[in-house]
């Protein structure tokens, strides 16, 4: 099986500081892969490199056969690379409904259509309602985003990413700030996404990581320390040393 996403020697320097260094990461079709590592290891930066927020100083990124390294962020998104942000990045003055409709209409390439009323696009509204329903946000569909509680905003982050019907979904701590039972549900929803969607997620909640990932990559100081199945990673003393600590004995 060929990888959907593959990096070779990927790296970026901020001044003299190598935030991400020589990373070779592959994402298989249908992957449910976790990316873990200490704070400041470079996980978010890696996602920013993959999605084109930053331009790498070293290495390449391929999506299937296509090289992405030089493409702009929006172009990558249109090719099916969707993400959520660690720090909420939403449309504060829109409602959740309009936010999702916006994502859908951009996905369908209608963002420049200025000669037809939005309302005419019934399908987008229906789809948006359905998506919000799945994330239990339908009751809040018409509340301005700025007034939503933090946890609900986290959910909307995911809704926006899913609205793009991505081939690859990159989630940066999606469950942070979501209560435990709901974060479980959230991850179940992610796990049940169609198998042709590959998911890479960053998460510091080890319950979720070990429950939902099939493969784990550990990033330390910008480099991949090790990769493997949850069981292998849970046993790895180096990972315990720098990241898991002793409380993770249960894993």
């Amino acid at each position: 099986m060929s990888a959907v996403l593959r990096t070779r020697g990927l790296g970026i320097s901020f001044g003299a500081f190598r935030a991400v260094d020589d990373v070779n990461l592959t994402l298989e079709p249908g992957a449910r892969q976790a990316l873990i590592g200490p704070n400041g290891a470079g996980k978010t930066t890696l996602i920013n490199l993959l999605t084109g927020v930053f331009k790498p100083t070293h290495g390449t990124i391929h999506m299937g056969e296509r090289e992405l390294t030089a493409l702009s962020a929006d172009k990558r998104a249109r090719m099916g690379l969707a993400r959520t942000f660690q720090i909420n990045t939403l449309f504060p003055s829109l409602t959740p409904l309009l936010s999702v409709v916006l994502a859908i209409s951009e996905r369908d390439g209608l963002g420049a259509v200025w000669w037809r009323p939005l309302k005419r696009n019934k399908a987008a509204f229906d789809e948006a309602h359905a998506l919000l329903g799945r994330l239990k946000l339908d009751a809040l569909a018409d509340v301005p985003v700025a007034e939503l509680a933090y946890g609900k905003q986290r959910l909307l982050e995911i809704a926006l990413a899913m609205a793009a019907r991505p081939r690859i979904l990159l989630l940066d701590e999606p469950a942070a700030g979501v209560p435990e039972d709901e974060s479980g549900e959230l991850f179940e929803a992610i796990a049940e996404l169609p198998q042709d969607i590959s998911v890479l997620f960053i998460e510091h909640d080890m319950n979720l990581v070990f429950r939902f990932s099939r493969r784990i990559s550990v990033l330390v100081a910008g480099r991949i320390l090790t990769e493997g199945s949850p069981a292998e990673i849970g046993r790895d003393p180096r990972v315990r040393e720098v990241y898991l600590g002793h409380g993770a004995a249960h894993v």
């Binding site: 939503l148 700030g177 319950n207 600590g245 993770a248």
Partner: protein, 239 residues
């Protein structure tokens, strides 16, 4: 023991919207408090109210015997409240070091001690606030609050985004600070077990009002009560 902090029938919210509805509780000197509750029940709003960032429509806040309901935020800080906002909100155009020193006040906490507490921050001392990872921002927000040398630390989901090993250390440290230096804290958490371990007392909020108050240990020990209040299956958490 004398009272440190009290909410007395507080009604508060944003604009015309009421979020806290006749909320009351009291906390004794040197005691730590866990605030639990589902998304959107008003935990953050409670802390924002304590910092004077909401509109208090009725009721009063007392701090060490004084009515602080109308005090401006900076005065509350000087009186001993140290705040870690939920979304961290470090100052993006200040370096890590400036973030820490800009509001420093004399006391046991100084730059060196914060750096000792979070060695990662020392490494990143020259980075600007917006050039930090999420976890580093969280550490910085906590460090910044410590630098004001508070008597009561207000932590709004402080563990969010921190690596497990750091979470463990931090929880231990906060408990230790309370016991050895009398630095109390109010901890808002999504993970009840963690919060209850760190605190003496706990309250559970629902729709802006207190539905349960009692010692943390008792609540932690009563799985079915917790289940009822929070809807959390406690069994699979940190067995």
């Amino acid at each position: 023991m004398s009272e440190m902090l009290a909410f007395d029938q507080v009604v508060a919210g944003y604009g015309n919207a009421v979020v806290l509805d006749r909320l009351s509780f009291a906390l004794a000197q040197g005691q730590s408090l866990a605030i639990l509750g589902r998304n959107g029940v008003g935990k953050t709003t409670l802390l924002e109210t304590l910092m004077g960032n909401t509109r208090v429509m009725r009721g009063a806040l007392r701090w060490c015997g004084e009515d602080i309901t109308r005090w401006p935020a900076h005065r509350r800080v000087r009186a001993g409240l140290g705040w870690v906002p939920q979304e961290r909100e470090v100052f993006p155009s200040l370096t890590v070091e400036e973030n820490l020193t800009v509001i420093g006040r004399p006391g046991p906490w100084n730059l060196q001690r914060v750096y000792q507490f979070f060695p990662r921050l020392r490494e990143r001392r020259g980075n600007y606030g917006n050039q930090l990872s999420g976890g580093e921002q969280q550490m910085l927000a906590i460090g910044r609050a410590l630098m004001t040398n508070p008597k009561l630390l207000l932590l709004d989901e402080p563990m969010e985004g921190l690596a497990p090993i750091i979470v463990e250390e931090l929880a231990r440290s906060i408990r230790h600070l309370c016991e050895s230096e009398g630095l109390a804290s109010i901890v808002v958490e999504q993970h009840p077990v963690l919060a209850l371990e760190m605190t003496h007392q706990a309250i559970v909020l629902e729709r802006g009002t207190v539905v349960h108050a009692g010692p943390s240990a008792a609540l932690a020990g009563d799985a079915s009560l917790l289940e009822g209040l929070l809807g959390v299956g406690m069994t699979d958490v940190q067995a």
